[in-house]
C-alpha cells in the first residue's frame, strides 16, 4: 500500500485521518474502528457500562496503565488524579487516563513502511518510544484513549490491526524470527503463522473463551525459536513423505503455574491445521472454565481431562465442522512472508573492519541458510527504540534488507537477507543510529516485562533491575568467559510470567518481604530453565533476594558456574549436578536486608527515588512485630517447599507432591495459630480451620487473585491426585510457593488491622 500523502495545510477545516485514509483501509477494519470510536463517545457520556466498555477496549488492545503517582505520591500518602469523575479503568485506574496500546505484529513480520507509521504514532500520540514485547508485539504507552481510533486507522492503512491484541481472545501468533533462513528448520513456517492469524482473527468460534489463547510456530524441534512448549497451541514444522505438516501441542503456558504443552498430534498435515485449531477452539470454548479466571487457560482444561480425552473431543469436533474454503485457500496462494533478498549474495571479504565490528559480528550476526546472506540482530535495550531510530532503521532496511524485518520474543528486531559483504557498512550505519549495540542474545541482553513501571500487577521494578543489570554487565561483557556470556537473564515484575523467567538460565520474578517494619522489594531467583528445545523445561525457585542485591547475586552465581562447571556443561546441567542446596548456599549471603537506619537504599526500588510500597497494588503488605509467631511458623513451610523442589529435581514425584502439600498446610497452620494456638498438625484439621477462618471469610483473598491461591490448598485437600507424574508434582510445587506468598500477604494485612494504637511509636517517650 502506498503511503497516503497528508492534505495540504491550507485546506481550510481540519481534515481527519478517517477521511484521508478512507480508501486505504480494509473496509471491515475501518468499520470496526468507527464502531469503537462511537463506543468511546458513549462511554464519555456514561451511556455504556464500564464493564462492557472495558472488554470492548481490551479486545482492541487498549489497556489501562498503572499510575502510582496518582495512588502513592511519595510512596505513602495518596494524591488523587485530578479527573472530574473517577470511573475506573481496571482496578484503581482512571479510564480516560493515558494508557497502553498493544499492536499485534503477527509472527513479528514488519516492513519499513509499517515501521515509519509506528514511529509517527509514537511521536504524535506517545512518548517517542516503541516497546517490543516478549510476544513480538509493539506497545506504545501513555496514549490518550481519544487518540486510539486515529492511531488504529493509520495502522490499518498499512495493514496492521490491533484487534484481539488483548482480552479473552486469540492473541498474537508468534513465530521463530529465523523462519525461512534457518539451517535446521523443516520449512518456512511464516506463511502458516500468517494464515492461522488471518483465519482466527474475529472468527466466531474464538469469541467465547474464558481466557486468552496464545499460538506459536517453530520451524524445528530443537532450538528455542518458537518456544512452542509454553504456548496454548504450538506448531512444530515437520515433513513426512514429502508432505508438509506440523507436530501440534496444546496446553502449555507460563503464568503463575507453568505447564509444558502436551502433544495433540505428532503430525497434522498442512491442510488440516486450520480446521484442527477451529475444533480445538470449539472444545475450549465449550468446556473451558469461564467463571474462575485463575483456572481458565486451556492448560487447566487439558490437565483436568487429560490429553487423550482432549484429543478425542477435538477429533470428534473436527468431524462436525461445516466445510470452509479458507482451510486450504491459503495453500494455493501462500502469503508472501519469507522475504526476498534485496541484493545479490556475497561473502564477507577480508579486509579492514570498523572498530567493534568483530565483537558485534560474533553475537549479532547469524549466517543464513542461503549462502552469502546474514540475519542481523539489533540489541534493543529493554526492547525500546525511539521514533528517530525507527525511521533510521526503515532507511537501513530499505538499503540493505528490503522488507525483511522481524521483531523477536527477546525484545529485539532482526534484519534478514543482508548481503554479507554489506555487513561492515551496515554496522557503521547502525552505530550512527544508536542501534549497533553488540551482545545480542547474551547475558547482557536482559529481557524484562514492564513491571511496576506501567503494569497494574507489577510488584517490583523489573525494568529498573534489567536496566541496571544491562549497564553493569555491558561494561564487563568483553571480559566475561564465553560460558557466562551465553547465559540468559529474564525478569518478570510479578509471578505472572510476562518476562518469561521460567525459561531463562537465571530468571527473576518480583515479590516483596517485610523487613524492619517496612516492605522491601525482592526478586525470587529461578534457576535452570531451558530456552532451547522450544522451552522444554522450566526453572525452579531458589529463594528471594532483595532487589538491590540482585546484581551481586548474579555475579556470585555466574562466578560459581564459571569456576565450577565441567567442560561443556550447561548452566542447567551445573545447577542439577551441584544440587539446589549448594546453589542456595551461594545465594544465601545476599538474602539479608540491612536495617533501615543502616542502609536505606534497600528500601527503594531500582529506577525510583521513593521508599518502596505496594500499597497501590492493593495487596497491603505491612509492618508488624519484628518476628511474629507467624514468622517463625512460616519458615517451616518455606523449607518444606524447598525440599519439595529438591525432590522434584531428583525425580521423586510422590515425595515432591506430598511435601508441597505439607508446605501449604504449614503456611495455613501458621495463619491459624495466630488465632487458635492449639491447632494440631493434622492436615484435615488445618484445612478445616483455615477454610472457616480465612477462606470463607475472604480474609485470605487479595484484591486481584481473590481466592485463587487459597483454592490450591482446598482443592488438594478435597481431591488428592489420582495419578502422579512430573507435571502434577511440578504444579503442586508451584502452587505451594504461591500459597506461601499469599499467606505472607494475608498475615501482613491482619497484623495491620490488629493494633488499636496505630502508627509506629517514636523513640521519644510518649505521655502516659
Amino acid at each position: 500500500m502506498a503511503p497516503t500523502s497528508p492534505p495540504s495545510a491550507s485546506s481550510g477545516a481540519r481534515p481527519s485521518w478517517k477521511g484521508v485514509l478512507a480508501g486505504a483501509m480494509d473496509p471491515g477494519w475501518a468499520d470496526e474502528i468507527d464502531l469503537f470510536e462511537g463506543q468511546i463517545e458513549l462511554r464519555k457520556q456514561a451511556r455504556i457500562e464500564e464493564k462492557v466498555f472495558a472488554e470492548t477496549r481490551l479486545r482492541r488492545g487498549v489497556y489501562g496503565q498503572r499510575y502510582d503517582n496518582g495512588q502513592r505520591a511519595d510512596g505513602f500518602a495518596v494524591q488523587r488524579l485530578g479527573y472530574a469523575d473517577r470511573p475506573t479503568k481496571g482496578p484503581d485506574t482512571v479510564w480516560d487516563a493515558p494508557g497502553m496500546q498493544r499492536i499485534k505484529i503477527p509472527y513479528g513480520g514488519v516492513s519499513p513502511e509499517q515501521l515509519e507509521v509506528l514511529a509517527d504514532l509514537a511521536e504524535e500520540y506517545s512518548d517517542s518510544i516503541l516497546h517490543i514485547t516478549t510476544r513480538q508485539d509493539v506497545q506504545l504507552h501513555y496514549i490518550h484513549i481519544e487518540d486510539t481510533p486515529d492511531l488504529m486507522r493509520r495502522l490499518a492503512a498499512v495493514g496492521i490491526t490491533t484487534r484481539e491484541a488483548c482480552g479473552n481472545s486469540v492473541r498474537n501468533v508468534t513465530a521463530c524470527p529465523l523462519a525461512g533462513v534457518c539451517h535446521t528448520e523443516a520449512f518456512d513456517i511464516s506463511p502458516y503463522a500468517s494464515a492461522l492469524m488471518s483465519f482466527l482473527l474475529g472468527h466466531p468460534d474464538v469469541q467465547d473463551f474464558g481466557r486468552k489463547f496464545k499460538p506459536a510456530f517453530s520451524g524445528c524441534e530443537h532450538e528455542a525459536c518458537g518456544l512452542v512448549q509454553m504456548h496454548d497451541a504450538g506448531y512444530v514444522a515437520r515433513e513426512r513423505d514429502g508432505v508438509r505438516g506440523f507436530k501440534v501441542v496444546v496446553g502449555g503456558g507460563l503464568g503463575a503455574v507453568p505447564h509444558q504443552a502436551k502433544v495433540l498430534s505428532e503430525f497434522t498435515p498442512e491442510e488440516e491445521i486450520l480446521p484442527q485449531i477451529q475444533a480445538v477452539a470449539r472444545v475450549y470454548a465449550r468446556l473451558g472454565e469461564k467463571k474462575n479466571r485463575g483456572r481458565a487457560r486451556i492448560k487447566f482444561l487439558v490437565a483436568k481431562i487429560g490429553i487423550d480425552e482432549f484429543r478425542k473431543l477435538v477429533e470428534e469436533e473436527r468431524k462436525t465442522l461445516p466445510h470452509d474454503d479458507r482451510w486450504t485457500a491459503f495453500l494455493k496462494d501462500m502469503p508472501h512472508t519469507g522475504g526476498r533478498p534485496l541484493r545479490d549474495a556475497a561473502a564477507l571479504p577480508p579486509g579492514e573492519r570498523p572498530e567493534g565490528f568483530d565483537a558485534w559480528y560474533a553475537t549479532n550476526v547469524y549466517r543464513q541458510r542461503q549462502e552469502g546472506y546474514a540475519l542481523v540482530t539489533l540489541n534493543l535495550p529493554l526492547g525500546d527504540i525511539t521514533s528517530e531510530q525507527t525511521r533510521a532503521l526503515a532507511d537501513i532496511a530499505r538499503q540493505y534488507a528490503g522488507d525483511n524485518l522481524r521483531t523477536t520474543v527477546e525484545q529485539n528486531i532482526v534484519l534478514r537477507f543482508v548481503t554479507e559483504s554489506d555487513l561492515p557498512s551496515l554496522y557503521r550505519d547502525l552505530l550512527a543510529a544508536g542501534l549497533g549495540a553488540p551482545d545480542a542474545g547474551t547475558i547482557v541482553d536482559v529481557t524484562a516485562c514492564p513491571g511496576t513501571d506501567t503494569c497494574k500487577l507489577g510488584i517490583a521494578a523489573s525494568r529498573g533491575l534489567a536496566g541496571e543489570l544491562r549497564t553493569q554487565l555491558a561494561v564487563k561483557s568483553a571480559a566475561l568467559p564465553e560460558a557466562i556470556k551465553g547465559l540468559k537473564i529474564k525478569i518478570s515484575g510479578c509471578f505472572n510470567s510476562c518476562g518469561q523467567h521460567h525459561v531463562a538460565d537465571i530468571g527473576f520474578y518480583g515479590n516483596s518481604r517485610k523487613v524492619d517494619k517496612r516492605t522491601v522489594p525482592h526478586f525470587q531467583v529461578i534457576l535452570g530453565g531451558q530456552w532451547t528445545e522450544n522451552a522444554a523445561s522450566y526453572g525452579l525457585a531458589m529463594g528471594s533476594v532483595p532487589s538491590k542485591a540482585v546484581p551481586q547475586t548474579v555475579d556470585a552465581l555466574t562466578d560459581a558456574y564459571a569456576s565450577g562447571r565441567e567442560a561443556g556443561e550447561s548452566f542447567q546441567g551445573w545447577t542439577k549436578r551441584v544440587g539446589k542446596r549448594s546453589v542456595r548456599e551461594i545465594i544465601k549471603p545476599f538474602m539479608t536486608v540491612p536495617a533501615h537506619a543502616e542502609d536505606r537504599s534497600y528500601y527503594v526500588d531500582w529506577g525510583d527515588a521513593r521508599e518502596f510500597t505496594i500499597g497501590d497494588l492493593g495487596v497491603g503488605e505491612c509492618a508488624g512485630e519484628v518476628v511474629s509467631l507467624f514468622g517463625i511458623e512460616v519458615v517451616k513451610a518455606e523449607s518444606q517447599a524447598f525440599d519439595a523442589q529438591v525432590a522434584l529435581d531428583e525425580g521423586d514425584y510422590e515425595l515432591a507432591e506430598e511435601l508441597a502439600y505439607k508446605a501449604m498446610c504449614s503456611a495455613a497452620r501458621a495463619l491459624v495459630r495466630g488465632e487458635y494456638i492449639d491447632v494440631t498438625e493434622d492436615p484435615d484439621e488445618i484445612v478445616r480451620e483455615f477454610k472457616a477462618r480465612f477462606f470463607d471469610t475472604e480474609r485470605f483473598f487479595d484484591k486481584y487473585a481473590r481466592g485463587k491461591f487459597g483454592m490450591y490448598l482446598l482443592r488438594r485437600s478435597e481431591s488428592p491426585p489420582e495419578r502422579l507424574d512430573r507435571d502434577v508434582a511440578a504444579e503442586r510445587v508451584e502452587e505451594s510457593l504461591l500459597f506461601i506468598e499469599a499467606a505472607h500477604s494475608c498475615e501482613a494485612r491482619i497484623a495491620a488491622a490488629a493494633p488499636a494504637g496505630g502508627g509506629v511509636p517514636l523513640d521519644i517517650p510518649a505521655p502516659a
Partner: protein
Amino acid sequence: MTAQRVAVKLFADPDPAVPVELSPFIALFHRFIQEGSVEGLLIDVADYAHVPNGPGIVLIGHDVDYAVDSTGGRTGLLVTRKRYANLSLADVVRDTLRKAFGAAVAIEADGSTGLRVSTRSLVIQLLDRLAAPNTDEAYEAAVKEVEPVLREVFGDADLEIARTDAGDPRKGLAVAVTVSAAGAVDAVALLARMGGAQRTAPVAASSGPESWEISAEDLKKLRDEAADFVLIDVREQEEYDAVNLGGTLIPLGSLGERMGELDKGAHLIVHCKVGPRGAQAVAALRGAGFGNAWNLEGGIFAWIDRIDPTLPKY
C-alpha cells in the same frame, strides 16, 4: 493552522552535545509531582535512560510531558503539549513556551541535576502530520502564526527562524529559533514577561498547603495497612488526656525545640483538634525540611465523626 500537539525543546547550556547525568531527574520529577512544581496534571515518571539518544527521563502529565531529551545527540528540556483544544497555533505555541520556561526555572532553581538550558536556542516541533505535514506550504503557514508570538516573547532581540529537517518529509514540521545574544534574557524574565509563574494553579490538588492534607479515611487506610509513619498530636496535654489517637504528643508550642527528635525521611502525620494547628505544624515541618509531613484534615474531630464515633468529643 490547527496543529495542537506542539513541543518546545530548550537546549542545554552551554553545550547540548555534552550528555547529562539522568538519574537525578528521577527524584526531581517525583518531587515535581508531589509539589506541583510545574504546570499540568502530572501523573508518572518514565525512565528511558537505557535508550541512547532517547527521551531520557520523562515526567508524564495528562496534558503535558517534560523530558530531558537527547534526540539527535543534543540534550535539552523537551516540553510537549499533548491535548487538543480549539486554540490557534499561536495560542498553543505561547502556552507551550510558557510551560517550557516554567519548567526550566523550576529545574534550575532546584539545582540538583546541574542542568541549565539556554533561552537562545530552541526548536518548536509541530507533532501533527495531518494538520502540519513537513512541507514548504505548511512551514510558511506555521511561521506566519508563530513568529508574532516569538516577537512578543523575545521583544526586540534579533531572531533567526529556520526550518529543520526540511530534507526528510517523514519527520515532523519543526521551526528552529535562535535569539541574538544582544536581546537575550533568562527563563525567569521570559516567564514573567509571559505572565506565567513558576508554579501556576495545578489541575491536580497537588501543591500548596491544602495538598499537604490527608483525610481521616486515608489515615484509617494507612493504619489498616500498618503503613510506616509517625503520628504526632500537636494539641495540649489536657486535650490529649481527654481523647487521643495514640500519637506522640508534641504541643505546637514545643514543636520547634523538639524537631530534632524527628526523622526527616520519615512520614509524619500531624493532627490537632480540627485542623488549623496541624496545618501550622506541617508548614513549619515542611519548611524545616520534613518533606513527608502531612496534616490530618479536620483533625481528631473528623476522625471521630467519620471513623470512630465511639470516641468522646470535648
